[in-house]
C-alpha cells in the first residue's frame, strides 16, 4: 500500500523537477537568443521546417473543421430559427477556441515531434557535444532559433487556420445549404469584436506556441541518447504539449472572460 503512494510521490517529484529543468532551459534560451536574430537565416530555416511544412495539414484540417462547424451549427441553429447566425457561430468558435487550440495540437504533433526527434538524435550521435567542443554553444545555434521560429509560426498558423475554417464554414453554409450570403458576413462582422475575440485568440496562440516549442525542445535535449530514448521522448512531447495546451486554454479563457 505504501509503495503505491511512494510511487506517486516519486513520480510527482520527478515531474516537478523536469518542470524546473524546462523552465531553466527557457531562461537559458532567452539569454542565448541574440544569435538567433543576428544570424536571422538560422531562424528563417527553422520557420520553414516548422511553419511552411505544416501548412498543408493546417489548411486541410481547418477546411474540414470549418465545414463541420457549418453543418453542425446550421443543424442546431435552424431549430431555433436562427440559421442566419451561422456565420457568427463559425467565426467565434474558430477565432476564440478552435483556431488556437487545434492548431497547437496539430503543431505539437507535426512540428513538435520533429523538433524533439531532431535534437534527440543530434544528442545521441554526439553532434551537440562536438559543437560544444568547437566552442559553439548548441543552445545558441540549434535550440534558440527553433524556439523563436515556433513563437513566430504558431500565431500565423492559427490565423490561417481560423481564416480557412471560416471559408470552409462559408462554403457549406452559403452555396451548399443556402443561407443568405449577406446575412452570413454581416452578422459575423456585427458580433465578432476585434479586441476581445481576435486579439485574445492571437494571444492564446502565442502562449500555446511558447509552451509547445519549449516542451518539444526540452524533451529532445533531455532525451536519453539511445534510439528508444528518443522515440519515448517524441511521445512525451505530444502528450505533454496536448495536456499543456488544453490546460492553458482553460486558464486563459477564464482569465479573458472575466477581465
Amino acid at each position: 500500500m505504501m509503495t503505491f503512494f511512494e510511487n506517486i510521490g516519486r513520480g510527482l517529484r520527478l515531474k516537478i523537477s523536469r518542470l524546473g529543468a524546462a523552465t531553466r532551459l527557457f531562461f537559458t534560451i532567452i539569454s542565448y537568443s541574440s544569435e538567433s536574430f543576428k544570424r536571422f537565416n538560422l531562424t528563417i530555416r527553422e520557420i520553414y521546417f516548422t511553419g511552411v511544412l505544416s501548412l498543408i495539414i493546417i489548411v486541410v484540417s481547418a477546411f474540414f473543421v470549418g465545414m463541420v462547424l457549418g453543418l453542425q451549427g446550421y443543424y442546431t441553429l435552424q431549430k431555433y430559427g436562427s440559421s442566419e447566425a451561422i456565420g457568427v457561430l463559425v467565426a467565434l468558435a474558430l477565432v476564440r477556441e478552435l483556431g488556437p487550440v487545434v492548431t497547437a495540437l496539430l503543431f505539437a504533433g507535426r512540428a513538435g515531434t520533429a523538433i524533439t526527434a531532431e535534437i534527440g538524435l543530434m544528442k545521441a550521435t554526439e553532434q551537440l557535444s562536438a559543437m560544444e567542443m568547437m566552442a559553439v554553444s548548441p543552445v545558441a545555434r540549434i535550440v534558440a532559433p527553433r524556439f523563436w521560429a515556433g513563437i513566430i509560426t504558431m500565431p500565423l498558423l492559427a490565423s490561417i487556420f481560423s481564416m480557412v475554417g471560416i471559408i470552409g464554414g462559408y462554403v457549406v453554409a452559403v452555396p451548399l445549404i443556402g443561407v443568405d450570403e449577406g446575412a452570413f458576413w454581416s452578422q459575423m462582422q456585427a458580433n465578432v469584436d476585434f479586441s476581445y475575440d481576435i486579439v485574445n485568440g492571437f494571444i492564446k496562440s502565442l502562449v500555446f506556441g511558447i509552451a509547445c516549442t519549449i516542451i518539444a525542445l526540452f524533451e529532445g535535449f533531455d532525451a536519453p541518447p539511445t534510439a528508444e530514448g528518443v522515440s519515448r521522448a517524441t511521445t512525451r512531447t505530444v502528450v505533454t504539449s496536448s495536456l499543456a495546451v488544453l490546460g492553458l486554454d482553460f486558464v486563459l479563457t477564464s482569465f479573458m472572460l472575466t477581465v
Binding site: 537565416n41 528563417i44 530555416r45 520557420i47 520553414y48 511553419g51 511552411v52 501548412l55 467565426a91 477565432v95 513566430i152 500565431p155 500565423l156 498558423l157 490565423s159 490561417i160 481560423s162 481564416m163 480557412v164 471560416i166 458576413w185 459575423m188 462582422q189 456585427a190 465578432v192 469584436d193 476585434f194 479586441s195 476581445y196 475575440d197 481576435i198 492571437f202 477581465v259
Partner: protein, 106 residues
Amino acid sequence: MDRIKLDAWVGIFVALGLIALMGLAMKVGNLTSNDIKTTYVVTANFENIGGLKPRAPVKSAGVVVGRVDSITFDTKIYEAIVTMSIDERYVPKRYVCQYLYRRLTW
C-alpha cells in the same frame, strides 16, 4: 534545400499568415469601423454595468461609433460612471444609452 528557395517559401508563409490575420481583422471583426479619427468624451451613469468592460464597442443604429474608455464607481450617487470616446463625426441631439450585452447602444 538552397537558401533562396527556403527564404522564398518562408516569405510566402509569413505573408499568408499576415493576410489571414488582416482578413480576420477586417472582414470578420469590426476593425474597419473603428474610429481612428478624433473623438470626444461622453460620460454616462448606469445603475448596473452588467458585463460591460473597457474597450467594449459603443453602437448607434447598429454601427460602431465609439469605445468605452473606463468604468468607475461614484461613491456619492452609488452608480457606475462609464466614460467613452465617440467619433467626432457623430454628434446627435439626444443621448439615451442602453446597455445591451457587452455593448452600449444609443
